[in-house]
Symmetry: C3
Subunit: 141 residues, 3 copies
């Protein structure tokens, strides 16, 4: 991972073999980024997508293997229990250009991944929501 | 809906049952947001996607029901006849991770929807374009 | 193409028949934009998507024809050999709302394309990466 900071924007280049979520989390922890959002493009080889069932309140997971283009990637950064927490969703395109989409648990870069991340200098936390069982933005009403 | 404002960015949390477009429109109206753009992720239960046919100049609509992940969501805010106008496109992933994509007319949150919205302090309007029949950005040439 | 500049954000309206990548490149060249990123929505008639195979280090290409909604579009702008270089990925939805996704080589607007582009006042270059054969961000380690 290499990065360059312009104002409040991080320009991030991930290399083959790097995990996108893990690497962004480490960057946010190092630079104490407590709120931000990012977009990315590139290509991954392994990835895991999730789909949340609001009835059972559980995720189902789809492990993917093989070359995928990151056709869309958007995520936010918050703080949970003092650590950066990455929430990202993505659309991945396979070699036939068919797509799969959902919650992105993790993805391993195959060729390159280019990210622009906008950081803020205040933190946003998350708290457990009893209704859905999810950790949601802890915003004042 | 809860939100928190950091500079020119709104961090928005939508709750189960809330309509994404309607709720953003009300927020923009309340805070007099006359131009901006947003991105989001989360999960919805009902949604309606549109596809514009440039030959017939009409939209076809696809109502969707069931849990969908918002795999991608991007929209802009302008002002039409004094009211905020939301133009959004989205990719939605079903429980098999297959996706549908197009113009997003509306979607009802199932579990959560997290949005970052960048506002501007000038307005951008729209005007009817005779060629396409659409309301397009009213920008000076 | 019409555009309006608010601070460091370009609001861009592309008209039927205009090529998205070519038009953005010309705008960036004219205004000497050496780094930035953009998002867009709208509809296109012809488009070409690419998928990179990290084993063979080559792209396969999918030419598309017919009305497609731009369900997601994100790209970045850098400078290669003194010229703006656009790297964009997209998800396109057809009239049945099925999607194709990958690297976006080019697309021709059918009805409209609305873009928000954030520019920076420093340049980011690219350099050949021997491992992948791609031109990657030229960032200091």
């Amino acid at each position: 991972m290499k990065h360059f900071v312009l104002g409040s924007t991080y320009i991030v280049h991930l290399e083959p073999g790097e995990k996108i979520i893990e690497t962004l989390k480490a960057l946010c922890e190092r630079d104490k980024i407590g709120f931000g959002y990012f977009h990315g493009l590139g290509a991954v080889r392994e990835a895991e997508l999730g789909h949340f069932d609001p009835i059972t309140k559980t995720y189902s997971w789809l492990p993917l293997s093989g070359p995928y283009e990151i056709a869309a990637l958007y995520g936010n950064i918050t703080v949970v229990e003092g650590k950066p927490f990455i929430h990202a969703h993505a659309v991945l395109g396979d070699r036939t250009f068919e797509t799969k989409g959902g919650h992105l648990r993790e993805a391993v870069v195959s060729a390159v991944c280019e990210i622009t991340l906008t950081r803020f200098h205040e933190d946003v936390g998350r708290k457990k929501d009893d209704g859905t069982g999810l950790f949601v933005f802890d915003l004042k009403p």
